[in-house]
Symmetry: none
Subunit: 376 residues, 2 copies
C-alpha cells in the first residue's frame, strides 16, 4: 500500500466515496492526474484500470474517465438477503463499550442482522479508512461512536455521503455538531452539572474537575461542572480544572491531581472525575498518599460501571445506560432501515434522537463536609 499507483488509486477512490466525484461525472484526465501526483501516465493508467475492473469507474475513449453509478449495484445488494450492520467504536475494550455492544448485538442478531465491528482507536485517519470500507461494501446501517468528537471532524464529507447514498447511520455517546445526526446520547452537560452540584450541596466549595476534552462527552461534562459553580455562586479556581486527551490519559490527569494535593495550601475537598476508570486511579493515588475517601476528600465518578462497586470505597457515580443504550441504538437503526425500505410511505424526516437524563447514584465515596475545614 505504499506503491505510487495504489496511492493514486486510493486518492481517486476517496474522491468517489466522499462525493467529490458524483456518478457519471467526468474525473480528471490522465494527464491532469500525472501532473497532480507527479507520476507517469503508465502509473495513472494502472490505478484507473484497477478501479475500472472493480467497478468504481468507467472509461470512454476520446471522452474521458467517469465515476460509475454504484447505486444500482447497491440496489442489487440490498436484494441479497444478507443483513449487515457496522458498529464503529473508538476503543473496543473501553470499559463501558463492551456493554453497549452486547446490548446492540443481542437485539440485532435477534432481528437477523450480522454485526461487524470496527475500532478507530480515536484516530480520525483510521476512522476515514473504516468509513471508506463501509461505503464500498454492502451495509444496511451504521452505528458509530464518533472519533475525537470535540473537534471539527475531517471526515464530515464521508458522513454526508452516507446520507446522500441513503445509508442510515446513528451516533452514540456523542455527535459532531456540524452534522446533527440522529443520535443516542446521555445529557453529559447535565451529568457534569449533577456531579458538581452533589458535592456543592454537601458543602464542598473547593472542587477539582478532571475532564477528557478530545471528545464531546468530556467537554460537555466540564461545561456542566462550570455551570453548577456559577449557579451556586461558588468561585472557581482555574488551577482546579484539569483537561487531558486520549494521548496523555495515562499520565497527565494523575500527575496534575498529585500536584494539586501536594501543594502546601491545598484546600481541595472534592474531586469530579471524567469517568469511573479515572476515579479508580485517583483513588489509588490518594490511598498511596494516605488521604482517605470520603474522609478527607469526596470524589464523584461517571458511568456507574462495575468499577464503582469493586473497591472498598464504593463510588458515587452517574448512571450510564450502557446496554440499554446499545439496545436502543439497535432498535433505532433497524427502524431507520425499515423506513428507508418503504420510503414511499413515510416521507417525514422521522427524527429519533434519544437523550438519556443522567441520574446520580450515591454510594460512599462522597460525604457532607463537617464545619471544620480539612487542612491538607
Amino acid at each position: 500500500m505504499e506503491t505510487k499507483y495504489s496511492k493514486v488509486k486510493q486518492a481517486i477512490k476517496s474522491r468517489i466515496i466522499d462525493g467529490t466525484y458524483t456518478p457519471h461525472q467526468k474525473i480528471n484526465s490522465e494527464s491532469e492526474l500525472m501532473k497532480e501526483f507527479g507520476v507517469s501516465r503508465h502509473t495513472v493508467r494502472l490505478a484507473i484500470g484497477d478501479l475500472v475492473t472493480t467497478g468504481w469507474l468507467y472509461r470512454e475513449q476520446g471522452s474521458g474517465t467517469f465515476c460509475a453509478d454504484r447505486t444500482e449495484e447497491n440496489h442489487n445488494r440490498t436484494i441479497s438477503n444478507q443483513k449487515n450492520i457496522a458498529i464503529v467504536t473508538t476503543f473496543i475494550s473501553d470499559y463501558i463499550f463492551p456493554s453497549i455492544i452486547r446490548g446492540a448485538e443481542s437485539r440485532l442478531s435477534q432481528e437477523g442482522y450480522q454485526v461487524s465491528i470496527f475500532s478507530t482507536n480515536n484516530d480520525p485517519e483510521k476512522e476515514r479508512e473504516i468509513l471508506e470500507k463501509i461505503l464500498s461494501q454492502s451495509f444496511d446501517g451504521v452505528i458509530v461512536e464518533p472519533t475525537k468528537s470535540a473537534f471539527s471532524n475531517p471526515n464530515i464529507s464521508y458522513y454526508l455521503n452516507l446520507e446522500r447514498l441513503g445509508l442510515p447511520y446513528i451516533m452514540i455517546n456523542a455527535y459532531y455538531d456540524e452534522l446533527e445526526p440522529i443520535s443516542i446520547i446521555v445529557d453529559d452537560e447535565m451529568g457534569g452539572f449533577i456531579q458538581a452540584e452533589h458535592l456543592i450541596q454537601l458543602g464542598h466549595t473547593d472542587i477539582a474537575g478532571c475532564f477528557k476534552t478530545d471528545d464531546a462527552q468530556g467537554t460537555r461534562r466540564m461545561k456542566g461542572f462550570l455551570k453548577a459553580h456559577r449557579k451556586y455562586g461558588i468561585p472557581l479556581n482555574p488551577k482546579n480544572i484539569i483537561t487531558y486527551d486520549t494521548e496523555n490519559k495515562n499520565t497527565k490527569p494523575l500527575d496534575e491531581i498529585e500536584k494539586i494535593i501536594s501543594t502546601k495550601h491545598n484546600t481541595i475537598t472534592g474531586i469530579v472525575g471524567y469517568n469511573d476508570e479515572l476515579v479508580i486511579e485517583i483513588l489509588n493515588l490518594l490511598r498511596a498518599k494516605k488521604i482517605t475517601v470520603p474522609g478527607d476528600v469526596s470524589i464523584v465518578g461517571y458511568d456507574d460501571s462495575f468499577l464503582a462497586e469493586v473497591s472498598e470505597v464504593k463510588l458515587t457515580s452517574i448512571i450510564h445506560p450502557k446496554s440499554e443504550m446499545g439496545r436502543a441504538a439497535a432498535d433505532t437503526i433497524i427502524e431507520l432501515i425499515k423506513i428507508r425500505a418503504n420510503k414511499n410511505k413515510v416521507e417525514s424526516p422521522y427524527e429519533h434522537s434519544i437523550v438519556y437524563n443522567p441520574k446520580l447514584i450515591v454510594r460512599n465515596s462522597t460525604k457532607g463536609l463537617t464545619p471544620v475545614e480539612i487542612t491538607s
Copy 2:
C-alpha cells in the same frame, strides 16, 4: 479482438479451457510468452492481467503465473474480494474478552479483514444458530470460544462440517475434546496448580477452591488445584471445593463461601478463585464480614485483569495473555487461510496450536501463614 494483447489473452484462455493448463499448473513465463507471440512484455502483462482479474489465472511473485481452480464456489469467493472473519464469543462484555477481541481486531483489520462478532451467551442452541449462519455465508475463517466447553458439544457436526468445507477455524481459551482443533489456550491445569501451590508454599493447608465447571477452563483449573494438593500431600476437604455454572454464577459461589466462613470451626486460610471477577466479589464479602485480606485469609485470582489493581488489596493472580492471545488467534487464522489458498503447495497438516504457560504475579492479596493458627 484484433489487438495483440487480446490475441495473447485468447490464446492463453484457450489453453486453459482445452486443458493444456490444468488447475494450479504453472503457465509459460512472461518472457516465454513474449518470444512465443513476438510481443513486448507489457503486452503479455496486459493479457495476463485481464485473465487474473477475471479469475482465470493467479500470479505469484518470484514463482510464476498459474492456472486458477475455477471449480465450485471457490471461484465465487476469490472473485468477491471481501475478506471476512467471524469471531464467536460466549459473552461479549465478559471482562477479559474485549481485550482479546481488541487484539484480534487490530491485527485482522490491518490485513484487510472485516470482523463480525457473534455471542452465544453460553447457550449451545444459540451457538448452533450462529454456526448455521456462518456456514451459509461467505466467511474466510472463524475464531471461536467454545460454549459450555466442559460438556460434550451438541454442535460437533457443525464444526465437522466446517472442516469438510475447508473453512478454517480455531478455538481460543478452550476446546472440545472430541474435536482436537487448532487452538490457542492457556494451560489452565497448570494455572490452577500454580494458584494452589502458591498458597501451599506460603504454609496454607486449608484452602477453598471456587471453580466454574461448565467450561473447560474451570474444570482444568480445578484439576490443577487437586493435583497440587496431592503433590504436596495436603489432605483436601471436599466441602472446600465449590463448583458453579453460568446459570448460578451470581449466587452460588458467594453463598457457599459465606457458608464456609460462617461455620464455627472454620479454619480456612486461603481461597483460590476461578477468576478475578469472582475474587473481587469474595473480597467484598470478606470485607463485609470483617475478615481481612491477606491478614486473615489469602486469596488468589486468575486472569490478571484490570480488576486485580483496582481494589485497595491488589490481587495475586495468574497472568492471562488476553490481547496477545487475540493477536495470535488473528495471525493463526490468517495463516490457515493462506495455506488453504495454496493447498497445492503445503500438504502437511500444519498444526499450529499455542499453549501459553501461565505465570503467577504476586501482589498483596496473599501472604505467608504465621505459626499461630487463625481461628475464625
